[in-house]
């Protein structure tokens, strides 16, 4: 009886150690593409608070999964620009159906404001299909 108890508690302890490792210590990264967007905005709505130094607002945007829509103003490799104010670094290489002048919606992680090029940066992004 006692042996059985020791055995079971050892197993339980091991399992919980594994769980702790998997959830906290393994150092796995977030998968932005699988997360739901916490902010849904048009490009201008995301850009304006950064541009105007609205730090209370922007603090809530950084590191969040943002769903942003806008007009493609430039494309190069796997980077696209929306309305010249949002720079989006896509996860994967570009799909061929993207072109300048199209309105698209993307989902990615908001990295912050780049005052050298005057853009808000988003990385690990995917292009969302049209609804």
């Amino acid at each position: 009886m006692n042996k059985k108890r020791v055995f079971i508690s050892t197993i339980l302890l091991l399992l919980s150690l594994i769980a702790v490792y998997v959830f906290f210590l393994s150092g796995k990264h977030r998968v932005i593409a699988d997360e739901d967007a916490t902010i849904v905005l048009k490009s201008e709505e995301l850009y304006a608070p950064f541009k105007n130094n609205h730090s209370t607002l922007t603090a809530n945007y950084i590191d969040q999964v943002a769903q942003v829509s806008g007009l493609i103003t430039s494309i190069s490799k796997n980077t696209i620009e929306l309305d010249n104010i949002i720079q989006v670094d896509l996860n994967n290489d570009l799909k061929t159906n993207l072109e300048k002048g199209k309105i698209i919606t993307i989902k990615g992680r908001c990295v912050g404001y780049d005052d050298l090029f005057d853009v808000v940066k988003i990385d690990q992004a995917i292009v969302l299909p049209k609804e």
Partner: protein
């Protein structure tokens, strides 16, 4: 009347557009520059992060160079390390970016060709609310109208008042090697 206004407007836009191009002709930019830093110690987990979305502007006329990298854009292999780096060491919420502003010494863009050439750069690196004078040598070459630049320099966390806790001090190198890789296209 309305049409005239539109026409005048368009002409103005065109004129200013061309003027601006005229001014910007000597500027080269890179929106996806790569900056990496490494502070690994032997036998311990590597301490290395890469930012593939660094902004950089190079004015070939004056030799002025500016580069900006958002701290949150640095990615580590281990997400826990990335979290600690952001929260405890570099305090990216308070200091969200690193900026380098400097000048390439004696840059003659007409002499650039397909072979790597060494050019000295002097400038200031701003990070974690501090500023440090940096000197480095970069390699430059021109390929198909693109200016490629690579180089590296060494800094210490203490240069920027970044304190490493005792507990991990032997796992993080005192000297941090920063490498950069830019591919400039004409603006």
């Amino acid at each position: 009347m309305k049409k005239h206004i539109v026409k005048i407007g368009l002409t103005l836009v065109l004129i200013f557009g061309t003027l601006q191009c005229g001014f910007a002709q000597t500027k080269y930019i890179d929106r996806n520059g790569v900056v990496q830093f490494e502070a690994s110690e032997k036998l311990f987990e590597e301490v290395k992060a890469t930012n593939k979305s660094v902004s950089a502007v190079l004015d070939v006329q004056t030799g002025q160079i500016a580069a900006l990298s958002l701290i949150k854009g640095f990615h580590f292999k281990n997400s826990l390390m990335e979290e600690h780096f952001n929260e405890n060491y570099i305090e990216s919420e308070k200091y969200p970016k690193a900026i380098f502003k400097g000048k390439l010494n004696d840059l003659d863009v007409t002499k650039l060709n397909q072979n790597w050439q060494e050019v000295g750069v002097d400038g200031k690196l701003q990070l974690h609310g501090k500023e440090k004078q940096i000197h480095l040598n970069v390699m430059l070459k021109m390929v198909n109208g693109l200016i490629l630049m690579k180089g590296s320099f060494i800094v210490a966390p203490s240069d920027f008042d970044i304190e490493i806790p005792k507990l991990v001090r032997n796992k993080i190198a005192k000297e941090v090697t920063v490498t950069l890789n830019f591919e400039f296209t004409k603006k």
